[in-house]
């Protein structure tokens, strides 16, 4: 296959970037999208040009590192998948493919296609956990969890924190990410003790990080590589409202 790539090149967060065009002639349809970048970077190195920086690691769709915005879609044209799981057979010979980084104020570009997603970690640190010290847990089967509840928790918990939801959203809202985390704990019996405080704190941190508001268009869920449902945003709204109505948190 012959492919024309237009890739966002940006030296660092302080320098303006631009799209740069590259021609690739020998692309196999069985190659993954990131393997195509490996080939391109190999060629750039031989020519003495700086390689394209991008985040990637597991290359099996679970670590959440890869983050390319391909032809106007987060993680490209295949639904329910990450960029590393995308293969060139999804494109046609002669295609031009535009590759950009995630675009969101809360995710500043570090270099080329690499962005800073540490805002997600700070949201998790604000309350995305159950406070239980090592060694203090009761026997695992003392906490029965109905199967459908465990399934709902797992549906939410499989978020890989890649940030596609933010990138896909016209408001750059992080609601789906936060909803997945809040929902995971809110439905489980273990998560009840900190349920209200968790919702309040995580939402407050989300706002502090500069993510946009949610207007419930659903683009996030469509582009989510794990297809996390909008139901979780509905649950987050309920959790947040309930938390505010009963809150002891005067600062919130």
């Amino acid at each position: 296959m012959k492919i024309t790539l237009k890739v966002w090149r940006q030296k660092n967060s302080n320098t303006p970037g631009k799209l740069v065009e590259y021609q690739l002639d020998n692309i196999s349809p069985d190659m993954s999208f990131l393997e195509m970048f490996d080939v391109l970077n190999g060629e750039l190195t031989k020519k003495g040009e700086e390689i394209i920086a991008f985040d990637h690691d597991c290359r099996e769709g679970i670590c959440g590192s890869c983050s390319m915005y391909i032809n106007g879609r987060a993680h490209g044209p295949q639904t329910g998948s990450t960029t590393c799981q995308l293969h060139m057979r999804s494109f046609s010979d002669g295609d031009t493919i535009v590759v950009e980084p995630w675009r969101a104020r809360a995710f500043p570009v570090i270099k080329d296609l690499m962005v800073d997603r540490t805002a997600f970690d700070r949201i998790a640190q604000a309350g995305g956990y159950i406070s239980v010290n090592t060694g203090s847990a009761p026997d695992a089967n003392e906490i029965p969890v109905p199967r459908e509840v465990a399934d709902t928790a797992m549906d939410a918990a499989q978020c890989i924190a890649c940030g596609a939801c933010v990138a896909a959203c016209k408001n750059a809202s992080a609601m789906l990410y936060v909803a997945a985390k809040v929902s995971h704990f809110a439905v489980l019996p273990q998560g009840q003790a900190e349920r209200t405080m968790r919702a309040e704190r995580m939402v407050a941190q989300m706002d502090t990080e500069g993510f946009g508001a949610c207007s419930f268009t659903g683009a996030c869920s469509v582009e989510c590589p794990k297809s996390i449902s909008l139901d979780h945003i509905a649950r987050l709204n309920r959790e947040y409202l309930g938390a505010k109505l009963t809150s002891n948190n005067v600062q919130g």
Partner: protein, 645 residues
């Protein structure tokens, strides 16, 4: 130096309890006077960092990822073992211990493995309390599945994403301690050296991957939780950035390297397609619960499949060879990984492999779908089937999957004693980075168990003994000359890599090394091939330092430079692996020497001469390493020829 494993005296079941009682404690109020560095935030690192911070120590945790939630533990699919016996099927701590020792082909320490089995039950309790959404029965209690090498159902799982959920549990615990200010989390930063002064580990040298800044960090103790070295083979199921650098640089500072040749080849991976391929994808071993492994009985049929003239479903039942069920009737498709991998290789070597490359066997779910219905199979393995379809473009509900073995895990690693301390006092290794619990072969669902055992339930006890012995004053500041010299060494090495300006990319050298390792030190090895490989690696390493091309500077984000440093270390480690494989004149677990096999082609151990851990000591650049032996003593199990028939 004499190796002292510090295995406690006394009956097996009492060793850990007695040992814990004998360990010195650090008073709660004094814990805040100690600083601990944790390198890596996978299962072992995140669980250790969180647990130590909960105790009150000051922890600095490092990861080269952008977040503490991306380590490759996250990719573990199938599950985690624990001796809960919730299924009432005869499991016990002793049985998990026994299965693990036997599965490891009697090359692990009894004391360590028993402790692992003992704390396995606490791990499940801990993870459930953290909110890990394990699979449940309708009554709300925990579900289990079975895994290779065991005849009981003791594996806990969260769909096909158990590693992800366990890592998130540890990540959440770690995040809580970051918020509390007890853990300082430093991301996108790579450890490049360990600093040893007066025979003790004092801190590390790191490079900030965003700015290139080379910095020193000092502490009372350093924990390496940096994973395995499977990427020495270039193609493996490891993540692209997984590397040996932290462990290898510690090795060069005096930490012995244990059993480097013990590598695990996982039987169920998606086969290799082309030379552009960057990694191999694992299909969980849990698939072997319901999938049946087969190839055509005749070479002719196999050849027609390879040429695309016929398809798998065209082969009638009586022309199929379910070779694992045939050869191992009692374990069938659930034989341990090393046995399953080797048998796949045999049938492919006989010309009965099925992919166009000839290097694949079928994993067929047709019978399971007929028996249980598509819905049940979908509920169990849906995400794995989807993943397969995305990569290969075939639908496994309709055509059998094609699988082939691939490098997956390294049982070898830094030598540690019962306290998880390396041969450098104050330097610890946890999880896959150490060599300790799996012997010559790891059973499925035991890596998650070991990583979390080390981090949650072993190191919080054992580190106190060392810290209480040295005292809070025994720490060196980062302006000490040893740190400055360490920083300079890293500058020098990076400048050297950047100044070569040769003609080949780092990736080309990495691939070349991978080919050598796979061909001569992979699924089966022989003396002649290993000797050849040693020479080839030496030549490749020399060429690398003459002709590698790394662009840019140190003082910026530079992914080629990061990769170059890691490949430089793999080029040294590869030779040690070959030396170790050559010296071990027996077959055991994942180490299969063609010269040493039974008449039926099974691994043949030499217990009289090789019942020891090989711990290698670095003696200088391009000098042969010195072998130290830690004899393994078995008081509770009888060494037998492993049989899964």
């Amino acid at each position: 130096m004499e190796l002292d494993s510090k295995i406690p005296e006394g009956p097996l079941a009492e060793k850990w309890a007695r040992h814990k009682f004998g360990l010195k404690l650090v008073n709660p109020a004094n814990k805040r006077k100690y600083d601990i560095i944790v390198v890596g935030t996978g299962l072992a690192g995140a669980s250790a960092a969180a647990s130590l911070a909960e105790l009150g120590y000051n922890v600095k945790a490092f990861t080269f990822h952008d977040s503490a939630r991306r380590a490759h533990s996250i990719a573990a699919q199938g599950g985690i073992n624990a001796a809960k016996n919730y299924q009432n099927d005869g499991d016990s701590v002793f049985r998990l211990f026994y299965d693990t020792i036997k599965g490891g082909d009697y090359r692990a320490r009894e004391g360590n493995v028993y402790r692992l089995a003992e704390v396995s039950v606490n791990i499940i309790d801990q993870c459930v309390a953290q909110g890990v959404p394990f699979a449940r029965e309708y009554g709300g209690l925990l579900a289990n599945r079975s895994f290779g090498g065991a005849q009981v159902s003791r594996t806990f799982y969260a769909r096909g994403q158990t590693g992800q959920q366990l890592l998130l549990g540890a990540y959440h615990a770690l995040s809580r301690q970051v918020a509390n200010g007890k853990v300082k989390l430093i991301t996108r930063t790579e450890m490049l050296d360990v600093i040893v002064v007066d025979g003790k580990a004092r801190g590390i040298i790191t490079r900030n991957l965003l700015t290139g800044a080379i910095e020193s960090h000092s502490a009372h103790a350093v924990l390496l939780c940096t994973g395995g070295y499977g990427n020495v083979f270039y193609l493996s199921t490891n993540a692209m950035n997984s590397n040996v650098t932290a462990a290898w640089r510690a090795h060069k500072k005096g930490a012995y390297f244990g059993n480097p040749c013990y590598t695990q080849i996982h039987p169920t991976c998606i086969p290799v397609k082309g030379d552009y391929q960057s990694k191999l994808t694992l299909m969980s071993e849990s698939l072997r619960n319901d999938g049946r492994v087969w190839v055509p009985k005749s070479q002719q049929d196999a050849e027609k499949i390879r040429k695309g003239q016929i398809k798998a479903n065209d082969i009638p039942e009586d022309a199929r060879d379910y070779f694992l069920e045939r050869r191992y009737p009692s374990f069938g498709n659930l034989v341990p990984r090393d046995v399953a991998s080797r048998n796949a290789k045999y049938v492919c070597d006989e010309g009965r492999g099925v992919a166009p490359t000839g290097l694949a066997v079928y994993l067929d779910f047709a019978d399971a779908i007929r028996r249980d219905g598509r819905k049940t199979i979908e509920a169990k393995y849906g995400n794995l089937f989807e993943m397969y379809e995305k990569i290969v473009g075939d639908n496994p509900y309709e055509t059998p999957m094609m699988i082939y073995p691939a490098v997956h895990y390294t049982m070898g690693g830094l030598w540690v004693d019962y306290n998880l301390m390396t041969t450098i006092p104050g330097l610890y290794a946890l999880g896959e980075a150490n060599f300790s619990d799996h012997g010559a072969n790891r059973l499925g669902a035991s890596a998650l168990m070991q990583g979390l055992a080390d981090g949650y339930f072993v190191i919080p006890y054992t580190i106190g003994d060392y810290l209480a012995t040295i005292g809070p004053g025994d720490k060196i500041a980062v302006d000490h000359p040893a740190f400055k010299e360490g920083e300079q060494r890293i500058h020098d090495m990076n400048n050297r890599l950047l100044s070569i300006k040769g003609s080949k990319t780092v990736d080309e050298y990495h691939k070349a090394l991978g080919h050598i390792m796979w061909d001569y030190c992979g699924m089966s090895r022989n003396a002649e091939g290993l000797k050849k490989a040693k020479k080839m690696i030496q030549e490749l390493r020399a060429e690398f330092w003459q002709n590698v091309r790394v662009l840019g500077t140190n003082e910026e984000m530079n992914q080629s430079l990061e990769h170059a440093g890691r490949v430089a270390d793999f080029l040294e480690l590869g030779e040690l692996m070959v030396d170790d494989a050559l010296h071990r004149e027996e077959s055991c677990g994942g180490h299969f020497r063609e010269e040493y096999q039974t008449e039926e082609g099974e691994a043949k151990r030499d217990d009289a001469n090789f019942t020891y851990v090989a711990a290698w000591e670095y003696t200088g650049d391009n000098k042969p390493e010195v072998l130290h032996k830690e004899e393994l003593e078995f008081e509770n199990v009888k060494l037998t020829q492993r049989s899964y028939k």
